[in-house]
């Protein structure tokens, strides 16, 4: 850095020409010229006035030859740092620090004067539970780390930070617990993040797509959560967590299929009750995946499987429906997906209009008009409802492709088709890994320890064994 402060300031001014909000304040202490530089929207004016300016005025009265040292020693600010390159200067400037340049010094001081411009901690919205902690991550990195550190008070909590993104300079923290985490996995995650070279990282989704093999599978291999307690459970199970500034969603690595059936509430329930819920979730995973396919297979190829009464019932309902069962199912599934997507985007005050249209027009009227059969409505309804049991949206969205495959298989070959697609699904699952962990673990490969908290949950005592 240049020693002549005027020259330095003019070069900084030139460099930040387009940024209108950088304030340069000149001040003379003793006979030395100093500059106070800060980025107005990111800094708190209170902090600057009362902790920087006020202190400096006091310091002006001291008689010390080395001004840099005097300021560093006496300024009333909890975080003071010396910097000596222009790059550092710009970095801290854009992070909301106040820079003090002193004439004749090759080093500058930067002081923490960040403004609190994020929302306060609120209750989780996408992962609601009626028992369990009610705090959720926010868009502020420090707060998020705080929520985790509040729960894990240990020196072993290892946080490795990165600043990535050419323009955004986003803070990325990789958390793990020393001794629990597998070092190979941590190394590979750190390497992957190190190699990220993007213009900007706005949220955790970008990191997620960059570090997992994005389109190898429609199923997620990284879990996202907005609950600090889920993050802590994951850390204690030896997982790696990535927290990204400006993103209220943390990434949990690695995540197997089994992880998506768990909720934070599981630790509250008795293991027998939790087992029931788990079982229900696994069943509904297959229901949402396969019901339309199986139904199509049954009514277009394999009618002999149905009892006569049921067959007659179905046949009566199908009477007069002009489309083949596959097309009928496709229409209803598309309608449902459109409704669901609409429901996510629409502001909540017009949600009731959507539900009326959905329930009345697509359900009742479509049946009355003879476009779809009532059974099909039931099939699609159970398919849709079963999908709602999962908190991770990616898994429901991924299931849609396979549901479609099941339907196509069923419409080409009946139950044989369903079986073919099912085998394909199993092959797909077994070939999938999440950062080296097999996706079907602990079922395949069998893990006697983890299996106790999978399809069923064993009691706490048994899991300890």
């Amino acid at each position: 850095m240049k020693k002549n402060v005027d020259k330095l300031v003019s070069s900084i001014k030139k460099e930040t020409e387009g940024v209108s909000d950088i304030i340069f304040r000149k001040k003379i202490i003793g006979k030395t010229k100093i500059y106070i530089i800060y980025n107005e929207p990111l800094t708190s004016s209170d902090k600057i006035s009362s902790f920087v300016i006020k202190s400096l005025n006091k310091i002006a009265r001291y008689k010390n030859k080395n001004l840099l040292e005097t300021i560093e020693n006496n300024i009333t600010n909890f975080k003071v740092q010396r910097i000596n390159t222009n790059d550092d200067l710009y970095f801290y400037l854009h992070f909301g620090y106040t820079i003090i340049l002193i004439d004749g010094e090759s080093e500058a001081l930067c002081l923490e004067t960040k403004a609190d411009i994020s929302r306060s901690i609120s209750i989780p919205e996408s992962e609601n539970t009626y028992r369990g902690a009610k705090d959720a991550f926010v868009e502020e990195y420090q707060k998020n780390i705080g929520l985790i550190k509040k729960r894990i008070k240990s020196n072993k909590l290892n946080i490795k930070t990165f600043n990535k993104g050419k323009y955004t300079n986003t803070l990325i923290g990789v958390l793990s617990i020393k001794g629990l985490v597998s070092n190979d996995k941590l190394e590979s995650v750190l390497n992957k993040i190190q190699n990220i070279n993007e213009n900007g990282i706005i949220n955790s989704g970008i990191i997620k797509n960059l570090i997992e093999k994005e389109n190898k599978s429609v199923f997620p291999t990284i879990n996202t959560t907005e609950r600090p307690d889920m993050v802590c459970y994951a850390l204690l199970r030896g997982k790696i967590v990535i927290i990204i500034d400006n993103s209220p969603y943390a990434l949990i690595i690695p995540s197997t299929l089994n992880e998506f059936f768990k909720t934070s509430e599981d630790s509250y329930g008795k293991s027998l009750n939790v087992s029931f819920t788990r079982f229900l979730k696994v069943i509904s995973f297959f229901i949402t995946l396969m019901t339309p396919g199986i139904y199509i297979a049954l009514i277009t190829y394999n009618q002999e499987i149905l009892p006569t009464d049921l067959l007659v019932n179905f046949a009566t309902q199908r009477d007069g429906v002009p489309f083949p069962a596959f097309v009928e199912a496709l229409i209803m599934i598309m309608c449902f997906e459109i409704l669901r997507e609409g429901d996510l985007r629409i502001p909540s005050f017009s949600g009731s209009a959507l539900s009326i249209v959905g329930a009345l027009i697509l359900g009742d009227a479509a049946v009355a008009a003879g476009i779809v059969s009532p059974v099909m409505i039931i099939i699609i309804a159970i398919t849709a409802i079963s999908a709602l049991l999962f908190t991770e949206p990616e898994i429901i969205i991924g299931v849609r492709w396979w549901r479609l495959l099941f339907m196509i298989g069923a419409s080409l070959m009946g139950l044989i088709g369903v079986v073919v697609i099912f085998i394909a699904l199993i092959i797909h699952f077994t070939s999938l890994t999440s950062f080296g962990t097999p996706y079907l673990s602990p079922f395949s490969p069998y893990d006697p320890k983890d299996i106790k908290d999978s399809l069923f949950k064993a009691s706490h005592k048994r899991r300890k064994k």
């Binding site: 002999e304 006569t308 007069g320």
Partner: protein, 395 residues
């Protein structure tokens, strides 16, 4: 290469199975029963098609159509006749889900049952779990056209009637087609098939008016079992003998047995549990039939002191003897009179007394006639019910 493997794999699955046949549900005529008659050397197939037309959504509206229709067509083979139904019906006949197969006695007398078995067994798609019944004193077609009360589809009415007869009456009438074919073709035993007839026959039988009165003028009734010798009907078993046959076959779930308690009056028990064990001593032409059963006393019309153990034992003995006598009678009738093996004793001896069977294999018919039976019926527990005495007003 990976994709070629997957495609090959799917292709093999695709082609190596029988159940590949696309048919939309509203393009098929679902048959619930098939009746087979013979008419001037031509086979007449009647199929009962369930009405799958959408009913009016107004529940108060009177249903104008019946719940089923029947189509009849003739041909030289069953398949020809069955396919001819498309000439009348708008949809293709779908017989994979039938509940009932009715064969007329006339057909069996003339043609046997081989060709019927062939038709149904050859079809790779059809399920084989339907009941088989023989129509007595009427055409099989008439059975399927008779309307029945309570159950609106008469084939289901018959099927359910057969099921409850087996379960609560003790007659074993629910041999499904597969067991029947297995027993018949593998020569495990001679078969017997229950018969059905139209009670109070009148012209109204196939009319909806028949079931509009509270006491349906015409009804269907399960009557005696037809006993087969090879593929021909040789004789009948009446209700009592049919129950006794179930005892030998260990097929009793519940049954009501009635016998005399003194010279004039009767008493009944309801059998709640029964187990029959067949055994044969090595190298002897003998079969031991051991029946052990539990029962509830239901109905007793003569004065007896039921609190006395001795009396209860006596009553029990009465029933044991009665059942034993019936079993003996039934065995006599089938073996001595009809010379058939409806209980599969030949198969039983082959499995359990192999040496003896092999020695006498060539002369089996004679040996079989001389077979000895040692019947041992034992009432394990007899419950009195809620009251201890016979009902009688105090004097």
């Amino acid at each position: 290469m990976k994709y070629i493997k997957i495609i090959l794999f799917i292709f093999v699955l695709y082609t190596s199975t029988g159940c590949y046949n696309y048919r939309e549900l509203n393009k098929i005529a679902i048959a619930s029963a098939i009746a087979i008659d013979i008419d001037n050397e031509e086979i007449e197939v009647t199929s009962q098609i369930l009405n799958t037309q959408k009913q009016s959504s107004d529940t108060n509206a009177q249903n104008s159509s019946t719940n089923f229709h029947t189509y009849t067509s003739k041909g030289k083979t069953i398949q020809e006749a069955a396919r001819k139904i498309v000439l009348e019906s708008p949809r293709r006949l779908y017989i994979n889900d039938i509940d009932l197969l009715v064969i007329s006695k006339e057909f069996i007398d003339k043609k046997g049952i081989d060709n019927i078995l062939d038709f149904f067994l050859r079809d790779s798609e059809s399920q084989k779990h339907f009941y088989v019944i023989v129509s007595k004193d009427c055409k099989a077609k008439e059975i399927l056209t008779t309307t029945t009360p309570i159950e609106t589809v008469n084939s289901q009415s018959i099927a359910h009637s057969l099921e409850s007869t087996t379960k609560y009456y003790g007659r074993n009438v629910t041999n499904d087609f597969e067991t029947l074919a297995d027993n018949y073709l593998n020569k495990k035993r001679d078969i017997f098939i229950p018969s059905i007839s139209i009670a109070n026959e009148s012209k109204k039988a196939n009319n909806k008016k028949n079931i509009e009165s509270t006491n349906a003028t015409t009804g269907l009734k399960i009557t005696e079992d037809f006993v087969f010798k090879n593929e021909k009907i040789i004789g009948v078993l009446n209700n009592q003998e049919s129950v006794a046959a179930s005892f030998i076959d260990n097929k009793i779930d519940h049954a009501v047995v009635t016998t005399k308690c003194d010279n004039k009056n009767y008493m009944s028990i309801n059998i709640t549990k029964s187990k029959t064990k067949l055994s044969t001593p090595k190298n002897k032409n003998q079969i031991n039939i051991d029946v052990i059963f539990n029962a509830n006393l239901y109905d007793i019309n003569c004065e007896k002191n039921l609190s006395s153990i001795k009396v209860m034992k006596e009553i029990g003995k009465n029933f044991e003897n009665y059942i034993e006598k019936n079993i003996k009678k039934t065995l006599n009738k089938t073996i001595k009179e009809y010379k058939t093996d409806i209980f599969g004793f030949e198969d039983f001896m082959y499995k359990n007394n192999t040496a003896f069977y092999k020695k006498n294999k060539n002369n089996w018919d004679n040996i079989f006639q001389k077979m000895k039976f040692k019947i041992n019926v034992k009432l394990k527990s007899l419950e009195k019910g809620n009251i201890y005495k016979t009902v009688e007003r105090e004097k």
